[in-house]
Structure formats: C-alpha cells, structure tokens
C-alpha cells in the first residue's frame, strides 16, 4: 500500500488539472460575489461540502471552514490502528490542499455558538463570523452522564469513537495488556455512529491478540439484542475467533468503576483489563445547543432536499448529527454524499434557484475481519417525492457473500479515494 506522503503526492497530481488555482474565478475569492458559507466541522461531511462548494461554484462562493483540530484524523481505518495494522500517520491528513488548491479559508478554532437570527457563529479565538448560509457537520458528542462513573474518565476508560488521541490511548492500553487479559468493548443502543464499526473493532483487537497474546479474551457487551450490521457475516467472523471473542447481547451498561475497570451491566458485572466503552451519543453539541429541532432530544430533524434544519432556513446539517431517513446509516461515506447534495442545493439557493428536486445518495461501509479480508454493506437512496425523504431502493444494495481479500484491497482503495475526494 502507498504511504500517506505518496498518496498525497499522487492525489495532488490527479486533481491538479481541476484545481481552482488556474481559474479566473479565483480572483473574486475575497469579494464574496456568490455569497459566504461557513462550515462548522472539517470531518467527512464538512471537508467535502467545503471543497465541493468551491469546486462547483468555480470559486464564486466564499467558504470558511472552522475545525477545532489542526489536522483531519479519520475514524474509518482507525480500528486498524488499534489492531496494530496501521499507524496514526496513515489516517492523518492535512487541510493544506483545501486552503491552497481550493481556496477554502480553514480556521483552527472552536465554534461556541450559532445565532440563527443574526446569521453569525461565534468562535473562541476569531470573534463573530457572519454567514449567508451555514453548514453544520459536527459529528457526535457523547452523553457520558448516562453511564455512572464514566464522566471525566476518558483516559482510563477510552471510547476511541472519535479518532485522534483516544485512538492512541486505546492502542496503548491494548499493547500494555497482559497475555490472558480481558478486553471488554461496550456498544450503546442504536442509532450510534458507524453501525458495523464496533464489530470490526472486536475483530481487529482479536486479530492482534491471537498473534500476540493468545490466552486473552474479547468480551463484546452489546446493549442491543443482536449484531447491528452485517449480522451473518460478523457472526461467522466471530466464529473464526472462537474462544477469543465472546458476544453478549442485551447488555446495557449502567455504571463503571474507572479504578478497577469494572463494568456494571443489566445482568452482569465484568472486570476487565481494558475497558473500551462507546458511550451513548447524540448530535454534536453545537447542533444540540443552538435551538435546532431535535428528534428524541438527540438528532437534528432536517428537510431532505436542502438538509436545512426544519423551520430554520439557512442552517444546513449533515452527517452523523442528523436524524436519519429510513435505513440511512451514520457513516463517513453517507456524510460525504449528503455534503454533495447540500453543496449543490446551496449553490442553487444562493443564485435564487430551487434545489435539485431528485437528489440521490448511496452508502458503502467496508469492515475488516482480519489483516486481509473485508466485507461491505451497501445501499442506494432515491428521493421519494411523496414521502419527502430519501428511501432505500428495493433490490439494490446488499452485503458481501463472505469477507474476502479482493474487498480487503477495495477497502483500502475506498479510503484513499474518499480522503482525496474530501481533502485533495
């Protein structure tokens, strides 16, 4: 596989021809003739919408992207880092191309508040910034207080459900674990970000332990009644790790003791050597604290042609923060697809035109079961004018027949291409 440097170089070569630097439109970059869009969050949704707004408007629309981290760190592929198959540098990418190639103004800062009436966002270090339209793609935030003893103990009981320092902490704890240790992974009730992700993680941890610490055990403590994605395929993968992975459904976590790494569940008490708790989650704080309409007090309710928060024109929300349409997963692939629908809609709206009345989005999530073999789940969602939301196309999509090496290669290619589609 290419390393990241080679990847970025070739990415640069590929898109150079279509970059904005050679365009006359670039001269208008600071004038904002086409309007000013502020994007909050530079993850899968936010980076994509920023690039596509610039690309498709040919530089007419000014875009400011505000992201708290200095670099993008990918959640997809981070389970491979935890399993020792990839390094942090493999999943970390700079925002430089968004700046230099696409003319996005990328600001490293925290957005503290959104004023939907005044159309401004306020930031920690860059004051108040006005927008014509804002796109929120803040991902998720955790509800630590739903599990007794969890709040403030992220270092001792990592989630690693946002890639970055947490990924490193969990990897380190796994490396430090003794042979014969217990790695317990807790999965919250659906919907959570990346339905197959926890099961992939169990496989990646088991794959490492089988090689390095074969007397150990992975306990998968699932608050749900069954495996939430690719059930038959993961059941088979878990059988391949017999004696190593134990799957325990219907186990909702009540509380933890961070010092002893003990988990108190509905029916069990588990003492672990590494306790990896994925806490219950909701839309990113900036989305839940700005007076946007929420469903179940967790996810933002949107109009599906423009992804504007219902009743709040000018505020678009994409990615994991949404209350999803039927069978729509919280995935990076889906956030990237929604971002393109929104980029197209915003360009139309800023020009006084109606949004595309028939947007399509599709999803694919690849999961690894060991170092080489991966499998997918895919779906295509067409906008339904009667239901006024995207609906999965019956007979399309589906899962792999079995995990296989060819799709292991495609999964790596998927990551390279989607990272370039967002950031190169």
């Amino acid at each position: 596989m290419q390393n990241r440097r080679e990847f970025l170089k070739s990415a640069g070569a590929v898109v150079a021809g279509s970059s904005l630097l050679g365009l006359a439109g670039c001269a208008g970059m600071d004038r904002g003739a086409g309007g000013h869009v502020v994007v909050v969050g530079g993850g899968y949704g936010g980076a994509t919408v920023a690039k596509y707004l610039r690309m498709w408007s040919e530089g007419r629309i000014n875009v400011t992207l505000i992201e708290r981290s200095t670099e993008f760190v990918s959640c997809p592929m981070s389970n491979l880092v935890i399993g020792g198959l990839k390094n942090m540098t493999d999943i970390t990418i700079s925002y430089d191309n968004l700046r230099s190639r696409w003319g996005v103004k990328v600001i490293t800062d925290e957005v503290l508040a959104l004023d939907t009436a005044k159309r401004t966002v306020s930031t920690a270090h860059n004051g108040t910034i006005a927008y014509d339209r804002v796109v929120l793609s803040p991902g998720i935030d955790f509800m630590f207080d739903r599990v007794g003893g969890l709040a403030g103990n992220e270092e001792l009981i990592p989630h690693a459900w946002k890639a970055g320092p947490q990924t490193v902490v969990l990897r380190q704890q796994l490396q430090d674990m003794k042979d014969g240790g217990i790695f317990a992974l807790h999965i919250p009730k659906s919907p959570y970000r990346c339905p197959p992700g926890p099961y992939e993680r169990a496989c990646m941890v088991a794959n490492y332990l089988r090689r390095e610490k074969p007397k150990s055990k992975v306990l998968v403590l699932d608050a749900n009644g069954e495996i939430q994605s690719k059930k038959a395929l993961f059941t088979k993968a878990f059988e391949g790790y017999k004696g190593l992975i134990e799957y325990m459904p219907n186990n909702e976590l009540r509380s933890v003791n961070a010092k002893t790494r003990t988990a108190e569940l509905d029916f069990e008490k588990v003492k672990a050597d590494v306790l990896n708790v994925i806490p219950p989650m909701r839309a990113g704080n900036i989305a839940t604290q700005s007076g946007l309409p929420l469903i179940n007090d967790r996810w933002v309710d949107v109009e599906w042609l423009t992804y504007e928060a219902r009743g709040i024109p000018g505020v678009h929300v994409i990615g994991d923060s949404l209350f999803p349409a039927p069978t729509m997963p919280k995935s990076g692939h889906m956030a990237n697809q929604q971002a393109k629908v929104v980029a197209a809609a915003i360009i139309n709206l800023l020009a006084g035109e109606a949004p595309n009345p028939s947007p399509v989005v599709m999803n694919t999530c690849y999961s690894f079961v060991d170092a080489k073999n991966a499998m997918h789940v895919a779906s295509v969602h067409q906008y339904d004018t009667v239901k006024k939301q995207p609906m999965p196309v019956p007979g399309a999509g589906g899962v792999s027949v079995a995990a296989n090496e060819i799709e292991g290669k495609f999964a790596h290619a998927w990551a390279q291409n989607i990272w370039a589609d967002m950031l190169a």
């Binding site: 290419q2 990847f7 070739s10 990415a11 590929v14 898109v15 021809g17 279509s18 596509y52 690309m55 498709w56 692939h333 990237n336 697809q337 393109k340 629908v341 197209a344 139309n348 949004p355 595309n356 009345p357 028939s358 947007p359 399509v360 989005v361 599709m362 694919t364 997918h376 895919a378 779906s379 295509v380 969602h381 067409q382 906008y383 339904d384 004018t385 009667v386 239901k387 609906m391 196309v393 019956p394 007979g395 399309a396 999509g397 589906g398 792999s400 296989n404 060819i406 799709e407 290669k409 495609f410 790596h412 290619a413 998927w414 390279q416 291409n417 989607i418 370039a420 589609d421 190169a424």
Partner: protein, 99 residues
C-alpha cells in the same frame, strides 16, 4: 438501451414517487455519488477504476453487465441496481465528457 436496463427502470418507477422535473446540474450531481470510490470527477487514485474520459457506451455496457450478472462483481451489481436507466445515462455521459 438493452432489455435488462429497461426492466430495471420499470422496477424503479414502481417506487412511490421519483421526481421528474430536472435540475440543470443533475448529471454532475448524480456522477458525484460515484466519486468517493472512483475519484473526484471520475479520476481515481488507483485501486478502483477511473471513469473520466471513458466512452459512454462502454461504461453503459459495463453497468448493464453488472446488473445482469454477466460481469461478476464484488459490489457494482448491487450499486448499479439503485439507479434508473435515465440516471445511468446522465452519469456515463458526464464521465465520458470529462478529460
């Protein structure tokens, strides 16, 4: 257009309500749904084929073969069934015109 493509169109129009009014950038928008695997504007970094600059008829034939099963695939048989003939027509024309 071959018989299998027509058949799939019939299935899709059976959906509750697909829209018929078109956006002038529909082809661009639809093609972008392929881009996170096949590359922005159909220019892949590798591992999956580039679509940019490929003749339209060739792309359409491959998609028809994925749908019918004539061309074995890991995933494209499932993805291609999610789009109408008109949509694939627009997408392939768009990629064929990309340099």
């Amino acid at each position: 257009m071959n018989a299998k493509l027509v058949l799939t169109t019939l299935c899709l129009t059976g959906l509750a309500g697909l829209s018929h009014a078109n956006d002038p950038n529909l082809a661009r928008n639809l093609a972008a749904t392929c881009a996170n695997c096949h590359g922005t504007s159909g220019k892949s970094l590798g591992g999956m084929e580039s679509l940019a600059g490929e003749p339209k008829e060739k792309l359409l034939q491959k998609l028809a073969d994925f749908r019918s099963g004539a061309k074995p695939a890991s995933i494209m048989h499932q993805i291609s069934k999610g789009y109408t003939d008109e949509q694939l027509d627009l997408i392939t024309a768009y990629y064929a015109a990309m340099k």
